[in-house]
Symmetry: D5
Subunit: 139 residues, 10 copies
Amino acid sequence: MFLTRLVYTSSVTDNFSPNDIENILEIARKNNQANNVTGMLCFNRKFFLQCLEGSRSKVNETYHSILNDNRHQRIIMLDYKEISARNFSEWSMGYMPESSLTSPVNIKFSGTPEFNPYEMSGESAHLMMLALKETIPSI
Amino acid sequence: MFLTRLVYTSSVTDNFSPNDIENILEIARKNNQANNVTGMLCFNRKFFLQCLEGSRSKVNETYHSILNDNRHQRIIMLDYKEISARNFSEWSMGYMPESSLTSPVNIKFSGTPEFNPYEMSGESAHLMMLALKETIPSI
Amino acid sequence: MFLTRLVYTSSVTDNFSPNDIENILEIARKNNQANNVTGMLCFNRKFFLQCLEGSRSKVNETYHSILNDNRHQRIIMLDYKEISARNFSEWSMGYMPESSLTSPVNIKFSGTPEFNPYEMSGESAHLMMLALKETIPSI
Amino acid sequence: MFLTRLVYTSSVTDNFSPNDIENILEIARKNNQANNVTGMLCFNRKFFLQCLEGSRSKVNETYHSILNDNRHQRIIMLDYKEISARNFSEWSMGYMPESSLTSPVNIKFSGTPEFNPYEMSGESAHLMMLALKETIPSI
Amino acid sequence: MFLTRLVYTSSVTDNFSPNDIENILEIARKNNQANNVTGMLCFNRKFFLQCLEGSRSKVNETYHSILNDNRHQRIIMLDYKEISARNFSEWSMGYMPESSLTSPVNIKFSGTPEFNPYEMSGESAHLMMLALKETIPSI
Amino acid sequence: MFLTRLVYTSSVTDNFSPNDIENILEIARKNNQANNVTGMLCFNRKFFLQCLEGSRSKVNETYHSILNDNRHQRIIMLDYKEISARNFSEWSMGYMPESSLTSPVNIKFSGTPEFNPYEMSGESAHLMMLALKETIPSI
Amino acid sequence: MFLTRLVYTSSVTDNFSPNDIENILEIARKNNQANNVTGMLCFNRKFFLQCLEGSRSKVNETYHSILNDNRHQRIIMLDYKEISARNFSEWSMGYMPESSLTSPVNIKFSGTPEFNPYEMSGESAHLMMLALKETIPSI
Amino acid sequence: MFLTRLVYTSSVTDNFSPNDIENILEIARKNNQANNVTGMLCFNRKFFLQCLEGSRSKVNETYHSILNDNRHQRIIMLDYKEISARNFSEWSMGYMPESSLTSPVNIKFSGTPEFNPYEMSGESAHLMMLALKETIPSI
Amino acid sequence: MFLTRLVYTSSVTDNFSPNDIENILEIARKNNQANNVTGMLCFNRKFFLQCLEGSRSKVNETYHSILNDNRHQRIIMLDYKEISARNFSEWSMGYMPESSLTSPVNIKFSGTPEFNPYEMSGESAHLMMLALKETIPSI
Amino acid sequence: MFLTRLVYTSSVTDNFSPNDIENILEIARKNNQANNVTGMLCFNRKFFLQCLEGSRSKVNETYHSILNDNRHQRIIMLDYKEISARNFSEWSMGYMPESSLTSPVNIKFSGTPEFNPYEMSGESAHLMMLALKETIPSI
Ligand SMILES: Cc1cc2nc3c(=O)[nH]c(=O)nc-3n(C[C@H](O)[C@H](O)[C@H](O)COP(=O)(O)O)c2cc1C
Ligand SMILES: Cc1cc2nc3c(=O)[nH]c(=O)nc-3n(C[C@H](O)[C@H](O)[C@H](O)COP(=O)(O)O)c2cc1C
Ligand SMILES: Cc1cc2nc3c(=O)[nH]c(=O)nc-3n(C[C@H](O)[C@H](O)[C@H](O)COP(=O)(O)O)c2cc1C
Ligand SMILES: Cc1cc2nc3c(=O)[nH]c(=O)nc-3n(C[C@H](O)[C@H](O)[C@H](O)COP(=O)(O)O)c2cc1C
Ligand SMILES: Cc1cc2nc3c(=O)[nH]c(=O)nc-3n(C[C@H](O)[C@H](O)[C@H](O)COP(=O)(O)O)c2cc1C
Ligand SMILES: Cc1cc2nc3c(=O)[nH]c(=O)nc-3n(C[C@H](O)[C@H](O)[C@H](O)COP(=O)(O)O)c2cc1C
Ligand SMILES: Cc1cc2nc3c(=O)[nH]c(=O)nc-3n(C[C@H](O)[C@H](O)[C@H](O)COP(=O)(O)O)c2cc1C
Ligand SMILES: Cc1cc2nc3c(=O)[nH]c(=O)nc-3n(C[C@H](O)[C@H](O)[C@H](O)COP(=O)(O)O)c2cc1C
Ligand SMILES: Cc1cc2nc3c(=O)[nH]c(=O)nc-3n(C[C@H](O)[C@H](O)[C@H](O)COP(=O)(O)O)c2cc1C
Ligand SMILES: Cc1cc2nc3c(=O)[nH]c(=O)nc-3n(C[C@H](O)[C@H](O)[C@H](O)COP(=O)(O)O)c2cc1C
C-alpha cells in the first residue's frame, strides 16, 4: 500500500447550487470515512481546492468519482505524492468556507487576493492548505 | 504554464479487442500532437503503463479523456510532477509492445517478471520507463 | 557489535488466546532483559507490530524465536537498520494495547483507521511507533 | 502563473521633490492593489530600494512603469526569483522611511552605515529587507 | 562588480519588419561589445528569447535600452542571477534563427512545439538555451 | 508492493553435505523463479552470504523457509531495505563458489582474507556482493 | 596546530587496585592541565572509556603514556578526529564513576545494560559521552 | 562591492607599551567609523586577534595600515571570506580585554588555556570570536 | 601547519618598468622555492592577479613582502582558504603573460574582455586561474 | 567487527639503521598477513608515514607494537576512521621508498617539497597516500 496525497482544483458549473456544498461535504465525509480518505476542501462559490490523502487506490477511486461529478469542471491536479504520514488525518473532509479564504491568505501564496488555485504551483497550493489548517478552525 | 509529467497504469476491459491498440495509438498520437502532449505507452494485452508529458492543463485534459475510455479500468496514477524538461519529447506517443516488456526489464523494477505496474512505486515506474526508452526502439 | 533495529508485523493464529498477551509480554520481557533487547509491542487482537532493538546477533536470535511462535503467522519485516542509539531503551518490551492504537494514530500513518501494519512502508511504521511512544504511556 | 519576487534599487532625479514620496506610495498602493502586487519600499531621500512580489507578468508590468518614471534613474535589479510564498503579502506597498534605515541596519548588510543598495549583493539586499520588516513597523 | 545573467522573452510589434533582425543583431553586437555584454538571441518572427550576461550595471543598462525598443512588447523576465562564469562568453550576441528553434527542441522544454517562451519557467528557458548552444552553430 | 532487498549470512551444520549446494541452488532457483525472487549466493563450504530481492512478502516468505533449513544455522541478517530497482535481476539465484571468494575480494571488504560475513557491516556486505557481480561470472 | 579528539576504551589488569582511580585522576588532571588536555573518564571497575581533547601532539603524547600504563590493557581506540571546538573544555578530566554509568544510559547506546565500550561504534561512544555530560554532574 | 570578513592574529613588539591599547582602539574606531569597518579586537598583552568586516577594499586598506604598524609583528591571516551580513556591525571596534579571554574560552577553541591564536584554524578562530561576543560585554 | 591558498590582485605603479617582470619572476621563484610557496602570476602590463599556495605562515610572509613592493599598489585580496591539496604545485611561480590573458578567457569570468581582476569575486578569480592553467602552457 | 583505517607519522631514532627497513617490511608483512592488516608505508630515511587497514582490534594491536618499536619516535596519528572498504587491500604492506616521495607529490599535499607528514592534516595525508598509490608501483 502506498500512502498518497492528491491536491486538485476545479470550478463550479451551473449544475451547482449553493446548498450543494452541504451535500458534497456530507457525502464526501460518509464516503471518505468508508474509504479511509482524509483531507480538506476549500470553496469560495467559484473554485474548489481539495486535498485527498489515503491509500493510493482509494485516493484514485475517490478522485475518479469526483472527476465525474457534473457540479464542477476544469478539474486540474496540482500535487500528487507518495507520503509517510498524512497532514489532515483528523478530518474525513475538513472544510474551509469562503470566509476562511481571506485575501491575506490567498495573496501570500498566489498572484491574487482572490482564491484562484488554477494559478498556483503544486508547492504553493500545498503550503497554503497547511497554512489554512494552522490558522482557521474547520467547520 | 507548468510543464508536468503523469504516469498511470490501467487494465483492459472486455470492451477492449486486440486491434484496439492500433486505434488507441492512432487517436492518441493525433490528439497528443494537437495538444502537444508527449509520452510512452507500454502494453502487454492486460495492463497499460503510460507516461504523459506536457502543459499541466493538457496533461490533465488528456488524462480525463483516458479515464473515461471504457476499454480500460482500474486506472491508478503512479507519478505526477512539475518538470523542467520532458523525457519523451520525441514521441507524441511512443509504444512499447508486449515483446519489449521482457522479463528482465519487468523484474528489475518490480516484484514479478510479468508486467504489472499496479505493484510498483512511482519511482520504480518512472525508472522502468526510462530504462525501456534506453534499450528498445519504439514502433 | 552492530546496534540494530528491527520492525515487523504479524497476525494472530487460532493458537492465540486473549490471555496469551500477558504471557508473551512476560516471556518477552524476561528474555529480552537477559538478551539486552529493548522495544515496543503494539497489539489489537489481530495484528502485532513490534520493534526490537539490540545487538545484531540478539535481535536476530530473538526474531528467530518469535518467527517460530505458532501463536502468530504472516510475519513480515518492515524495517531493519544499523543504529547509533536506541529509541526504546527504557523498555525491555513496552506495550501499546488496543486502546492506544486509536483511529487518529492509525490513520495518520497508514491507509486505514484500523491498525494494519501490513500496509505500511518501513518509514511509516517507524514514525508511527515513535509517535505512539510520545503520546501514550506504556503498561 | 509564476509567483515572482523582484528587488531593485534606484536614485532620485531632479524631477523628484520631497512630497513626491506621498504621491508615489499612493499611486503604488492603488496600482499594486489592482495588480495584486505586494512589497516594500525603502527611501532615504537619495536612493530607493524596493521589493515587488506578485505574478510574473504583473511584477514585470509594474517594473516597466517604474523604469519609465523620471523621478528616479540608475535603476538596477538586485534580485529576481520564482517563489512559493510572498514575504510582504500584508502590504500593497510597505514603507520604510529614512528614519527606519538606521546606521545599524545599513551597516549590518552593506559596506556603509548609509543606505546605499547599489553596493549590495542580491542576497544582502533581500536579507536586509526581511530584517527591516522584522524590526520596524511600516507607515 | 557582480557578474549577472538575465533571460527575458518578448513579442514583435507592428513596428518590426523582417529585416530588422539584421539591424538588431548589428546594433546589439556593436553595443554589447562596447559594454562587454554577451549572450544569445532566439527569434521565430513572433517571439524573442534573449540571454544577456555581463556586469550587473551593463546588463541592466542594456535591458533598459531593449525595454524601450518599440519593435517588441510584452517583455517579461524569466531568469536573473549572480553568476561566477558566463555561458555564452564567445558571442557578443549569438543568434538562433527560426530554423534552429525546431519542434523537438521547443517541445522538450515547453508545453508546445512552437517557440513560446512566455509559457516557460526560468529554469526551463535557461536549460533550453544551453541545449540550443550545444546542438546548433550560431550565425 | 514494496520491492525489497535482504542480505544475510549463515553457517553450514553437520546436516550439510558437499553436494547439497547443487541441491540448494536447484530448489532455490525453482522456488525463486516461482516467487519472482532474485539474488546471489556466495558459499565457501563454511559460510553462506546471500542476497534476496523481490516483493516484501516473497522475500520474507523465502527467508522464513531458509531460516528453517537445518543445513545451516547462526543465520544473521546484515541488510534489509526498500529499493526502487534490483541489482541481481538477471539471476534467480546467481552463485559465487569458493573459487570466486578470493582473498583479494574478501579482504577488501572485511577484516580477513577468509570469507566471513559475520564480521561485516551491512554496507560492506552489500558493496562486496556488487563487486563480486562486477568481476566474476556466475555459474 | 590541529585540535583533536580521541576516544578509547580499555580494561583493568590485576595491577589495578580500587584506589588507583583516585590516583589516576589526580595524575591525569595534573598532567592534562600541564598539557592542556581536557576530557572525561568513565569507569566501572572493569572497563575504562575515555575522551581526550587537545592539540594533536599532546593528545598523542598523553595517549602514549596511557598505553604504557600497566594498570589497564586491551586498549582500543574508538574515535579520533580533527575538531573546531572541544566538548569537555571545562574538565581537565571529568569523572563518571560506576554510579553514573547506569543501565539506562548504557543500553541506549550499546548492546547491553552493562558498560562495555568494546562493543560500541565510534559514533555511539561519542554520543554516549555527550549524553553522560548532559545528565550527570562530574566529581 | 563585496562585503568581506578578515580575521588575523599578531604579536606585540617592543614598540608596544601598555597604554598603546587605548590609543589603538581610539584610532581604530575613528578610522573604522570613517571607513565603515566594524569588528572586534582581542588582546592579552602578548597577542592580538582581530576581526575586520566591511567592503572588500576598505577591509584590505585597513589591513594594510595594520600590517605596517610596528607595534605588532608576525601578522598571520586566519580567515577571509565574502559574507552577506556582518557579525559585529554594532561595533566600530569591539574590545575584549585580557580579562575576557579566560581559560575556559581559550581552551574550548584551541590547544591551550592561554590565548594563542597562531595555533588556531580559521574556523576555530571565527567560532571563538562569536562565542566571546555572546558571553562578554565589550568595553 | 595549515596548507593555504591566497589570491590577490594589484596594479603597477610608475616604479614598474617593463623588464621588471623578468626580475619579479626570478626573485619570486627563488624565494618561493626557498619558502615552498607555489602559484601562478597573471600580468597584462597594468594589473597583476596572483595565486600563492603553501603553509599559512609562508603564504602570509610572502604576501607581506609583496605588499611592501613599490612596483605595485591597490593590492586587494580576492580569496583566502585552508586547502587539502594545492592546484599549482608544479610551479614555484607559473606565469601567464598578457598574450595568455585573451579576451575569451577574461570575459568568461568577469565583466570585461580586458583583464581586470578588481571587478571579480573570489570564486570567479579562482575559477579563471584554474581555466588558464588548463588551456595555456606556462613560461 | 569494525573495519578501520589508521594513518600515522613517525621519525627514525638512532636505533634505526638503513637496512632496518628491509627488516621492518619483512616483519610487517609477516605479521600483517597473519593479522589481516593491509596498508602502505612511506619512508624517506627520516620520517615514516604509514596507513594501516583492518579490523579495529588488529589495527590497534599492530599500532601498539609499532608504538613500542624503539627504531622510531614522535609517533603521531593523523587519521583514524571506520570504513566500508579498504584502499590498500592488495598489499600486506606496500612500500613507497624515498625515490617515490618526490618533490611534486610532497608539495602538492603539504607545505614543503620534503616529505614531512607531521605538518599535514589527516585529510591531506590520506589524499597523498591515495595519489602515491595511483602513480607509483610498490616494491
Ligand atoms: C468539489 C467536490 C468535492 C468532492 N469531494 C468528495 C470526496 O472527498 N469524497 C467523496 O466520496 N466524494 C466527493 N465528492 C462527491 C463525488 O463527486 C460524488 O458525488 C460522490 O462520491 C458520489 O458518491 P456515491 O457514488 O456514493 O453516490 C465531491 C464532489 C465535489 C463536487
Ligand atoms: C490505454 C489508453 C491510452 C490512451 N492514450 C491516449 C493519449 O495519450 N492521448 C489521447 O488523446 N487519447 C488516448 N487514449 C484514447 C482516449 O481514451 C480517448 O479515446 C480519446 O482521447 C478520445 O478522443 P476523442 O474525444 O477525440 O474521440 C487512450 C486510450 C487508452 C485506452
Ligand atoms: C507477537 C510476539 C512477540 C514476541 N516478542 C518476544 C520478544 O520480544 N522476546 C522474546 O524473547 N520472545 C518474544 N515472544 C515469544 C517468543 O515467540 C517465544 O515464545 C519465546 O522467545 C520462547 O522463549 P523460550 O524459548 O525461552 O521459552 C513473542 C511472541 C509473540 C507471538
Ligand atoms: C521609487 C518608485 C517606486 C514606485 N513603485 C510603484 C509601485 O510599486 N507600483 C506602481 O504601480 N507604481 C509605482 N511607482 C510609480 C510608477 O513609476 C508610475 O508612476 C505609476 O505606475 C504610473 O501609474 P499610472 O500609469 O497608472 O499613472 C513608483 C515610482 C517610483 C519612483
Ligand atoms: C529583441 C531585441 C534584442 C536586442 N538586443 C540588444 C542587445 O543585446 N544589445 C543592445 O545594445 N541592443 C539590443 N537591442 C537594440 C536596443 O533595443 C536598442 O535599439 C539599442 O540598444 C539602441 O542602441 P543605441 O541607443 O546605441 O542606438 C535589441 C532590440 C531588440 C528588439
Ligand atoms: C544457504 C541456503 C540458501 C537457500 N536459498 C534459497 C532460496 O533462495 N530460495 C529458496 O526457495 N530456497 C532456498 N533454500 C532452500 C530452503 O531453505 C528450503 O529448503 C526450500 O525453500 C524448501 O522448499 P520447499 O518447501 O519447496 O521444499 C536455501 C537453503 C540454504 C541452506
Ligand atoms: C585509564 C587511565 C586513564 C588515564 N588518563 C590519563 C590522562 O588523561 N592523562 C594523563 O596524563 N595520564 C593518564 N593516565 C596515567 C598515565 O597512564 C600515566 O600513569 C601517567 O601519564 C604517568 O605520568 P608521569 O609520566 O608524569 O608519571 C591514565 C591512566 C589510566 C590507567
Ligand atoms: C593590533 C592593532 C589593531 C589595529 N586595528 C586598527 C583598525 O581596526 N583600524 C585602523 O584604522 N587602525 C587600526 N590599527 C592602527 C593602525 O595600525 C594604524 O596605526 C592606523 O591605521 C594609522 O592611522 P593613520 O594613518 O590615520 O594615522 C591597529 C593597530 C594595531 C597594532
Ligand atoms: C606582482 C608581484 C608578485 C610578486 N611575487 C612574489 C612571489 O611570489 N614571491 C616572492 O618572494 N616575491 C614576489 N615578489 C617580489 C616581492 O615583492 C619582493 O620584491 C621580494 O620578495 C623581495 O625579496 P627579498 O626580500 O628577498 O629581496 C612579487 C612582486 C610583485 C610586484
Ligand atoms: C615504521 C615501522 C612500521 C612498522 N610496521 C609494522 C606493521 O605494519 N606491522 C607489524 O606487525 N609490524 C610493524 N613494524 C614492526 C613493529 O614495530 C614490531 O617490530 C613488530 O610488530 C614486532 O613483531 P613481533 O612482536 O612479532 O616481533 C613496524 C615498525 C616500524 C618502525
